[in-house]
């Protein structure tokens, strides 16, 4: 079958045809025409950028019937033979399979004979990085001072594997990755020549996928053309190439920000069923979030060179409500989880778990926002006009993101009023610790005007205790005592308080409390009473009760004794004693 893929059919035959490597082709053609061509040239660069091609063209340049010329005729015997790959004086050696020192020795033996019918005898060693150390060393002498009729051309993708002794004897030319636009333009030219109709956007898609290599691009183009019968649509290209549709990336980041886990599961499933490569998708996802972060930091006018303008706008819209630290967190998790996707036997599951993890991220406040909040608290300005339900908007827009997936969907219970406890204010997850007896109909406005804020306790009028419940009074009292006497505060930590109108307060402490002895001292009791009176600014009758917890020790003993005698009398135990001729050593009650 005489079918040739595009990459071979359209292999450039002159320096002008080589795409985007002018810095090499120009140098080489000048060298040829001015007669300053080095005897050993090393071409390096990523796959599919034109190393072998340039080596062959250079061979033609020096061996053409019009030599030396920078534009070989491609018609003379030498040129046609080189194109066909059967030239007598051009040896194209596969360095990877002929990598032994014997092969190089043979080459050295033959190098000293004159070429058959051309000016030069040319050795093109492709994949030269695979030569063994011995082979490289055997090459050194002949490479340094070859016979005048010999030219060495080396091509490799991995220049770092080549010994420096070889490198220093060669003129080195590095080929670059080819830009998306240049690949697309080249493919467009070929398509026009082949009478194939394909949109510019489609070509850009293919070029993007080629990742800097013209051969990859042409292979993909070939594939697209073979697989479609009629006109080539962009959708078909996406389907054939397995390109991740950009829209999917936006869908998934949107779903993540709005906490829509079901949508994410659905997308993962879709990608899996289409046989998409999960790792590839993951890489694109990371890049997408990186782009989002850049847009967040720089705005839509940022220098995201390979993202079209409309996508940048879309990105800006999407990150409008998201804080920068949140994006950092997302990216961090994505990087942390990368190995799982890579190593997992079922990458889809790993991907889903990563998203579950991303969903759990509590959006962090930026440090600035936190400091600002603290400042407001300090100056006594209301931190927020109202108690917030999860997802209610914060004063500054940067903090107004919806909390992704509150794990237990809480009905929007109002946050308990704050009691001068700064820490409970700072995160949006404070609804997690509501006081159990907190009344739901407590007027929210009381929070900012809270008299118990530590800054202004002295000017407050006596509190209206009947308006509050026990838990609340107790909390305030405790924090006040803690401030004045930390030791007493610690003793009271586990107690409970009961307020009986009009003026009776009962503090209950469990008898098992470790500091109970301390509390029984007269001095301490008096101290507590004094604190209470100071705190409430009204005469109150205060009593401290010690609550008996746990069963009565006497009862327990009695019960144990009963159990023991029961065990002794058990027929099974008696039988065992009899059989083994044993005695009862100890009885343990479990």
């Amino acid at each position: 079958m005489a079918y040739l893929v595009f990459a071979r059919k359209y292999r450039p035959q002159t320096f002008e045809d080589v795409v985007e490597q002018a810095h090499v082709t120009k140098t080489l053609s000048n060298a040829v025409t001015s007669g300053r061509l080095a005897h050993a040239i090393l071409l390096s660069g990523p796959r599919g950028t034109g190393k072998t091609t340039i080596a062959r063209i250079l061979a033609k340049c020096v061996n053409c019937s019009e030599a030396p010329t920078s534009t070989p005729c491609n018609q003379c015997r030498s040129c046609t033979e080189i194109t066909a790959g059967n030239a007598m004086d051009v040896f194209e050696i596969d360095g990877a399979s002929n990598n032994k020192v014997e092969n190089i020795r043979e080459l050295r033996e033959n190098a000293k004979y004159m070429p058959a019918h051309s000016p030069y005898k040319i050795y093109i060693i492709d994949e030269v990085h695979m030569l063994t150390d011995a082979a490289f060393n055997a090459l050194l002498k002949v490479l340094e001072e070859p016979p005048a009729h010999v030219l060495f051309l080396f091509a490799t993708t991995e220049v770092r594997k080549i010994p420096i002794t070889i490198l220093s004897r060669c003129q080195r030319h590095d080929l670059r990755r080819i830009g998306i636009n240049a690949i697309a333009a080249h493919m467009k030219k070929i398509c026009e020549g082949e009478n194939i109709d394909i949109s510019d956007k489609g070509l850009a898609l293919i070029a993007r996928e080629a990742d800097g290599s013209i051969r990859d691009g042409l292979s993909l183009l070939d594939q697209v053309i073979t697989c479609t019968e009629t006109a080539i649509t962009d959708k078909e290209i996406i389907d054939i190439l397995g390109v991740i549709d950009r829209q999917i990336l936006f869908d998934i980041s949107g779903a993540l920000f709005s906490g829509d886990m079901a949508a994410i599961i659905d997308i993962c499933d879709l990608l899996y069923r289409q046989g998409r490569h999960m790792m590839k998708f993951y890489t694109e996802l990371i890049e997408h979030f990186r782009n989002l972060l850049v847009v967040k930091m720089e705005g839509a006018a940022s220098t995201l060179s390979d993202v079209p303008a409309h996508e940048r706008e879309l990105m800006e819209k999407q990150v409008g409500n998201i804080t920068q630290p949140h994006l950092f967190q997302v990216l961090n998790v994505l990087f942390e989880e990368e190995w799982r996707i890579k190593l997992s036997a079922s990458p889809k599951t790993a991907l889903e778990m990563t998203f579950f993890r991303l969903m759990q991220i509590r959006p962090a406040f930026s440090l600035d926002a936190l400091i600002e909040k603290l400042d407001r608290l300090k100056t006594g300005i209301a931190p927020a006009g109202k108690p917030q339900s999860p997802g209610a908007s914060e004063p500054e827009p940067s903090a107004s993101e919806p909390e992704p997936s509150a794990p237990e969907p809480e009905p929007s219970a109002p946050e308990p009023p704050v009691h001068g406890n700064v820490l409970s204010e700072t995160g949006p997850d404070s609804p997690g610790d509501p006081g159990p007896e907190c009344p739901a109909d407590d007027p929210p406005e009381s929070a900012p005007a809270d008299p118990a804020t530590p800054d202004a306790p002295s000017e407050t009028p006596p509190m209206d205790l009947s308006q509050m419940d026990n838990g609340e009074i107790w909390d305030r009292l405790k924090s006040s005592i803690c401030e004045k006497s930390p030791v007493l505060g610690a003793c009271l930590a586990d107690g409970t308080l009961t307020y009986t109108p009009p003026d009776r307060l009962v503090i209950e402490i469990a008898s098992t409390h470790p500091n109970i002895a301390l509390l029984r001292r007269k001095k301490n009791i008096a101290g507590i009473e004094k604190h209470c009176n100071d705190f409430f600014k009204q005469p109150l009758k205060i009593s401290i009760d010690v609550k008996q917890t746990g069963p009565d020790p006497g009862d327990l003993k009695k019960k144990h004794r009963e159990l023991e005698s029961e065990a002794r009398a058990h027929p099974l135990v008696n039988a065992a004693i009899k059989t083994f001729n044993g005695k009862i050593q100890d009885i343990k009650i479990l």
């Binding site: 990877a96 399979s97 492709d126 886990m261 289409q274 190593l343 579950f356």
Partner: protein, 347 residues
């Protein structure tokens, strides 16, 4: 090729239509054949056991078949490119006896450079009888660096009438210089419903078992068949899931005998961890999207349980299973790794 392999291939060979779940890929191959634009090198990627090699062998048959038949309906191309499976070349290829179909596979852990050198010298001769000579290089990711590089030149410009087909799990596992020389064809995991239908129809399996196996197979028919052959797996799966439910209902540190049971058999262990992971995943998914769970037979139990667990804990527990799996792959003491996992699971 071993005899068991031969007989299996022989049984499967009934044209492209017998390959399930890869219609898109087969359509591409058929189109290339039809247009006579077969590329000289192709790379088939996809998980193990989803039909890459089978497709490659059928493609070789289609290239050389004496009496190609039209494709079944549903294809854009109606040309006769379907191998008949009965002519001489077809039977020779199916039985692995064709002189011009080379099958290179790793003899041990890697494909060695000697195999590639032998291949290169064989390729320098003309084909014996084939219209198109096929080189099937399975598990190309197992080529060592020397072998891979030795293949580069012949892969870029092979002799006439020669087509290379490489198979690998992922393109990223192979030298980029090789990938760039091939036309890349991704094989997708076989959809569960097709796998299920296959198991019921071709293997005579009861539908409820087929459903479970299809969901465990991860879209791989090879894996599904190997699960079918080992009848302990279904029973084992039930036990593992029951134990996991117990651990989640009342977490207690008493599950070390379960850990012991798991750690006893290394082969089972791999499956057990897979089962746990998919079960934990389902537990998480069940809260948001109950239709998408894998273990469909226990859907209601999952839904009930998922209401009681919290997400952070679940992620933590999934992580425990991952860590254990990683440790075991790194050759840690299985018993200790599993016990550590159990401790974290029952926290």
């Amino acid at each position: 090729m071993s005899t068991s392999n031969r007989s299996r291939l022989g049984k499967r060979a009934t044209g492209f239509d017998a390959i399930i779940g890869q219609q898109r890929q087969i359509r591409m191959l058929a189109a290339a054949l039809q247009k006579k634009e077969v590329p000289h090198a192709m790379l088939f990627t996809g998980e193990a056991g989803i039909g890459k090699k089978t497709t490659a062998i059928h493609f070789a048959m289609a290239c050389n078949c004496g009496h190609p038949m039209p494709m079944a309906g549903g294809f854009v191309f109606s040309g006769s490119v379907n191998p008949c499976g009965e002519c001489r070349p077809c039977r020779k290829i199916a039985s692995g006896n064709h002189p011009d179909v080379y099958h290179i596979q790793p003899p041990g852990a890697t494909i060695k450079i000697e195999q590639i050198r032998t291949l290169c010298s064989a390729l320098s001769l003309r084909p014996h009888e084939a219209l198109l000579r096929i080189v099937l290089l399975s598990d190309a990711h197992l080529m060592n660096a020397e072998a891979g590089n030795a293949l580069l030149k012949v892969l870029e410009e092979p002799p006439e009438k020669t087509v290379f087909i490489l198979t690998a799990p992922e393109a990223a596992d192979i030298l980029p210089t090789i990938v760039s020389r091939c036309r890349h064809l991704r094989f997708n995991p076989i959809p569960e419903d097709q796998l299920e239908a296959y198991l019921v129809e071709k293997r005579g399996m009861p539908p409820e078992n087929a459903m479970i196996i299809a969901s465990m197979a991860n879209g791989s028919i090879g894996r599904a068949l190997s699960i079918c052959d080992d009848d302990w797996i279904l029973l084992h799966r039930r036990r593992v899931i029951e134990q996991m439910e117990i651990i989640f209902r009342k977490p207690a540190g008493r599950d070390l005998h379960f850990a012991e049971m798991l750690a006893q058999d290394r082969k089972k262990l791999r499956f057990s961890l897979e089962i746990m992971k998919s079960w934990l995943r389902d537990l998480a998914v069940s809260r948001y999207f109950p239709e998408k769970v894998c273990n469909r037979d226990i859907r209601s139990r999952l839904a009930a349980l998922s209401r009681t667990v919290d997400m952070d804990g679940l992620i933590e527990k999934t992580d425990a299973v991952w860590q254990a799996e990683r440790a075991i792959t790194a050759n840690a003491n299985a018993r200790l790794a599993i016990e550590a996992m159990m401790m974290r699971l029952s926290e």
